[in-house]
Symmetry: C2
Subunit: 171 residues, 2 copies
DNA sequence: CAATCTAGCTAGCCTGTCTAGTGACCACGA
DNA sequence: TCGTGGTCACTAGACAGGCTAGCTAGATTG
């Protein structure tokens, strides 16, 4: 069990040491990551949109909620895909009736993307309940540990992606 | 700010209420998710493998560390892709010298997949340092809050994906 | 006003998934 | 022991979603 068969890979493990008491923590973290991915997958197949399109829609709606305009370029940047791919994405979402393109009031090169009422409804259906439960879970964290949990997540985020810029108004 | 312009979307928000004190927690959670995704992306482009292939490799290596054999079917199930896609994936990884197929000792239909020393080295290079830093972060969580953090993550995982089966030995 | 930059678009390519169908092999009941 | 049905892995071919290259319209700057 502890010294695996197969090729002569190093005998000093670079995988976590199981004996460490904080490993349970990292294990839970991994479980969460996996659950998150599976949720996205379910959501995307349920809505008949691919994962990128769902994230785009989520982004658009989240920014709508704060009154910020979303341009095609903004979407490309957020999703980390090319503007060309974004054009295709917007074609898909427009055709499926999830978003609308409108002229930018100030810059006539630019487009503002807005979600249709139908898209709002669809996302809402998925998220309202989930958000409620997530809030409940957040509330159930003992008051004195809240900061610790937040710090932990923040540090982990910094660790995984040092130059992350937190542009999301999503709350 | 609170009542956005644009189409006549519902005026009762289904996005989080910003006033809630625990929202910071959920916000940190979202930041972590994003950081995680970006890390995967970087890793995959850095190793010249797509995200699925990296996850496959990680899975293989993690199971190797516990002495469990990984079959093609096991990979397909874990990655949630078809066996056909898995066959192609294994072709790619075999061709690039990351894995080897060996006959299953008991079932002659089946194949055991093992990572090459080269793959071990490559993954190790990426992960050792990161794991060390993650462990440090885990250690820096106040002792009395560790359980709270773990519980929080577990509950969130259950919330996002109720039927998750925790098959990973990855620690 | 000319030169240059930027936003978004189309065309065409490449990669990675999928479904359909195949052959080899295992397990079990008659 | 010998079908019969289920399972494992594979190939072929379709399709989706990303990319780069190259374009036009409009903004910006010397």
């Amino acid at each position: 069990m502890d010294n695996p068969p197969g090729s002569g890979a190093s005998s000093t493990p670079y995988w976590y040491e199981v004996s460490d008491p904080t490993v349970g923590l990292l294990h839970a973290l991994r479980r969460f990551r996996q659950a998150d991915q599976r949720m996205r997958r379910r959501m995307s197949s349920d809505m008949d949109l691919n994962a990128t399109d769902v994230e785009a829609l989520r982004h658009i709606i989240a920014h709508h909620a704060t009154g910020e305009a979303v341009t095609a370029r903004g979407l490309a940047t957020h999703l980390d895909i090319s503007t060309a791919s974004t054009a295709k994405l917007l074609n898909r979402l427009t055709e499926s009736g999830h978003v609308q393109r409108r002229p930018h009031p100030d810059d006539r090169r630019s487009v503002i993307v807005t979600a249709t009422e139908h898209a709002h409804a669809e996302i809402r259906e998925w998220l309202t309940d989930m958000h409620r439960r997530m809030l409940e879970i957040a509330h159930s964290v003992p008051h004195e540990s809240r900061q610790a949990v937040t710090d932990f997540l923040q540090s982990m985020a910094d660790c995984l992606d040092p130059e992350a810029v937190d542009d999301t108004p999503d709350r």
